[in-house]
Symmetry: C2
């Protein structure tokens, strides 16, 4: 008899964004004439940079010609892209990362989900709260948790991120083996300093733990004193895997390209305490269960690092940060405490009431969709996340409507 992975039955009934979509659909059905402004899901709205468009057209033409056609590429990605990434995103900032340590993929969501396959089922996992739900759900699916009780899965060490600790978690009080960190943070939009990140790297080194560092929003960092990569922190090469994406950097949410850095010095241990290098393990997983990113898409990603591409991508993140500044200004004026939005496209708004209550209020009274903080974990209760991903005109209109409804 074919039996299911019973851990799937522990998953909560529906994914946060599906819940939101249902409430929005219900509102739209009830008010078919009302225009909705979406500042909820973190999806970009501006077109792809012209450098990427040109590169993609050229690559498509190569696929039409038997002389330049490309079949299977290397599972890990083409060298032209891996080398550009190593040089521009790491070496240019003094981080010692080489091209062969970079694995090109079709999404940071996929990679942050798939990476946990490399680890034993009975390790202890530390996950921030609030958090991007994928970290948690994929560990539930893998059987690393017990049941869901009082808003939390048993067996997970939650790292509270609150106004009190500036949304940067303190070290765990009990030993942990695997640690998820995300900066600039989704959902809070907050950042971590070099000194704060050094504390985590030192902890991982001392405790033979591993850090999974999600830096998908790095393109929004404007404060140059902040680390962009965890590999700017001494010692991190041995204890950290980093995830990056072109989704927010270059508007690739519908185009799909990302990468994961697994340094060759990064190690884990078997049951006998013997060291194994995670680069080889991930390479094996990647080659067995993945077949590389589409060639035209990799050429588009390479164009992100051209002189024109860099300028155009910078203009994209500048545009969204300009939106974010308006959100902070208006929401603060309405009496809401805000964090994030300065080195991040997300603004984390203390709602002075329940998350879903404020979500419903903004939807029903202003026709504006945000994301209820409670959907990201227990510590998100009382907050909402406002995303700066929309046109400036729409963000301005959304703020006017919210002012009118709540002011």
């Amino acid at each position: 008899m074919i039996r299911i992975n019973s851990h799937y039955t522990k998953l909560q009934a529906s994914y946060l964004f599906s819940d939101i979509a249902k409430r929005v659909a219900a509102f739209q059905n009830a008010h078919p004439d009302k225009e909705i402004i979406r500042l909820g899901i973190g999806d970009v709205t501006m077109p792809l940079p012209d450098a990427c468009i040109q590169a993609m057209h050229q690559a498509v033409d190569e696929m039409a010609d038997p002389e330049t056609f490309r079949g299977y590429g290397p599972e890990q990605g083409y060298d032209f892209l891996r080398e550009a990434i190593a040089r521009e995103d790491f070496q240019a900032r003094g981080a010692d990362i080489n091209a062969h340590e970079i694995f090109i993929s079709d999404g940071a969501k996929c990679d942050t989900g798939n990476i946990q396959e490399l680890f034993a089922r009975d390790i202890t996992v530390a996950i921030p709260d609030p958090v991007y739900p994928v970290y948690l759900d994929t560990n539930v699916m893998a059987g690393r948790t017990g049941a869901f009780k009082n808003g939390r899965y048993e067996g997970i060490v939650y790292l509270d991120c609150t106004a009190e600790n500036g949304f940067v978690p303190a070290l765990p009080e009990t030993p942990v083996d695997l640690i998820y960190l995300c900066f600039p943070n989704n959902p809070t939009g907050t950042t971590i300093t070099r000194n704060e990140l050094q504390v985590w790297v030192d902890y991982a080194r001392e405790n033979k733990a591993l850090i999974l560092y999600d830096a998908a929003y790095v393109a929004f960092i404007r404060d140059d004193s902040l680390p962009q990569s965890i590999y700017e922190i001494p010692g991190a090469r041995d204890v950290a895997i980093e995830f990056r994406s072109f989704s927010k950097t270059a508007g690739f949410t519908g185009t799909r390209c990302a990468y994961t850095v697994v340094p060759t010095t990064c190690r884990a241990f078997d049951d006998k305490g013997q060291e194994h290098d995670l680069h080889s393990l991930w390479n094996r997983r990647h080659c067995t269960k993945f077949n590389g990113v589409s060639y035209p898409i990799q050429r588009a990603a390479e164009a992100v690092y051209s002189e024109e591409g860099k300028k155009q991508c910078r203009a994209l993140s500048d545009y969204y940060l300009h939106n974010a500044a308006l959100v902070i200004e208006k929401m603060t004026a309405l009496g809401f405490a805000c964090v994030g939005g300065k080195n991040s496209p997300y603004i984390w708004v203390s709602g002075n009431r329940g998350s879903w209550e404020l979500f419903d209020l903004l939807l029903n009274e202003a026709g504006v969709v945000c994301t209820p903080g409670a959907g990201f974990g227990r510590c998100g209760e009382g907050y909402i996340r406002i995303s700066a991903f929309n046109s400036y005109e729409n963000v301005a209109k959304a703020m006017q409507r919210i002012e009118k409804a709540l002011g």
Copy 2:
């Protein structure tokens, strides 16, 4: 202490195609002036159909315009593609499959690898021998096997495919829960009749087993009495998941698009014997660990179903089948028994000696790369797989060289 998934250590040292690549590289280093003809890995060589190229260009232009730009698409794929697939690949052949039962992905390799996550670790898995290595390796990684001994993993029920049974396996003698089948077969190039496939569907229904049916090579079927989809077989909707790919159908190996069919009636059971529907389970997995296929790539795949696209794709598979006919003719004349190659791009050649011996002979004496059958399993020993994926000129030249070396 961060500990690894120890099942990875059971995996054999290297992947078949890496082994081949190493031997080829060694030969090339020793003979830098000799031109090598590759009839090994099943990678297409002809450019993409013009209909796909035009569709991709148009979609890229849409991504350049704020009015038509697309961000995140549905994880399951766009309706325009799912509907075309349901209509053309299934309903047109009398198979009762609907658009919402189709999940678009970036590769059948990924899907056949990832699907096993849905099942309990202690189910019994039946896998043909010879076989595409991914089915086996992903179950090893998941912990469903013991050690590798005498060329086989303990705990797997191997289904021998030999000349005696026409390379269509007999039903297993001990109970199994999950069954992998692949037709037209990789590596043997053989097919299965409706009656033979009905036997498996009946077995699965009677034993509450599930069939994973890999039909990636369906575009090469020319004998219309053969089933193209398992859903043409009565009763299959409840007990089978089917995998398809545009890689071989339309030359997408470097472009990346595929799909998996999970009928809503397809069920599995929990530890208490209660039914669960696999469509919901796979949907949850897909939405949590995958983010959809690139929009321009989905438009290219949609163009496969246009009138022009159908003609151009048919011309592609005709071209490779013409190559295959030449391989069968020449290898048979040299005294080798061949199967496959008539409804498949692969020819399975009985080598009259060890697989790797014939591989090395063809490489060293004729400069031709094939795939040693032993790399696909114990029953592949003594065979090689010759792939028809190359230009006709190269296939003809390869056959001349082999004639000269062995004739």
